[in-house]
Symmetry: C2
Subunit: 173 residues, 2 copies
Amino acid sequence: MTGDWDRFKHLFKRQEVHAKTILLQEGKISRTMFFIEKGCLRTWVNNDGREITTQFFFEGDKVASIESFRANQPSLYSIESLEPCILQTISQQEFQNALENLPGIKEEMQEHLFKRLLQSQKTFYSYLKNNPQQRYEELIEEYPHIIQRIPQHYIASYLGITPVSLSRIRNRR
Amino acid sequence: MTGDWDRFKHLFKRQEVHAKTILLQEGKISRTMFFIEKGCLRTWVNNDGREITTQFFFEGDKVASIESFRANQPSLYSIESLEPCILQTISQQEFQNALENLPGIKEEMQEHLFKRLLQSQKTFYSYLKNNPQQRYEELIEEYPHIIQRIPQHYIASYLGITPVSLSRIRNRR
DNA sequence: GCGATTTCTTTACAATTGTTATCGTCCGGG
DNA sequence: CCCGGACGATAACAATTGTAAAGAAATCGC
């Protein structure tokens, strides 16, 4: 899956960051793409001072505000570390070079984009169809490692509810 | 915007349908793409017998379950006419031909896919950030024609609430 | 090691939405 | 022209979630 990815992994630079480091701020243009070697990240949006987590990322994931990275537009969300991380980073510039020089990367990017669309739609439909309790149960089913690894208030914000409400749901079970 | 689109409009076949015609059923693989000449469509998902509308389409829009159309996977949603419609349709086969023979169409499709990702994300974030009342007000702001043209219970299902709740929200204003 | 911070739970109350049912209006087909 | 279905409003009640505040436990940083 990330086979092609490995081909230009040597272009990356190693970077270590503390927990709670903002790697990309909402509204800024994404100039860097990250590959997680160790640790985890989240993306989140600001809503009147209240944070809403939109996604979690773990070892092996590549993370960027693709929309921003690709179109040079302000990112709709922030990217932040949740744990101390070891990251491999590549700049937009270097990535452009790779795009033009390494065959197949372009197609892989498109496939990646397509998968993101599917994922985004799937998450969206889960929101439409299920209530918070059902979404929590779905999370336990499909991504148990998230429950075990991520502090609950982040999960609550990911589920679209308050930590109080998540605590109640957990007690109902 | 649809400039390139016009270039192969002659490949389309005209089709007239009644209101409430299912053009693609959830779970089936999309083999046809539609261009709306007159009328409007909606996409919706089935949730335990309850319909949830995910999007509305009007004159000038092109509609397909792109994800299904492109990857030959079962569609996650149905496509249905809300009014009597005049449609221009193209089969997957003919579309493939166009893709290979007409230069630039491929890039246009990718751009279209990218825009769908952005749109999908935007709608999703609106769900995350806003309550039903705010989403209704946003709808009035940004897409007033939808309010005027579409029966309320479809709008309610689009907003993720019951018709009863939408009626209450309208009365609160 | 220890104080400060973070995280989670609990409580009480308010606000919103869902559920079910009834009723009136409008519109189109036979 | 009339009947039936579609559509929207309303009411009463239940269930869920949000809000604010307080406290206990765990964890972090120095």
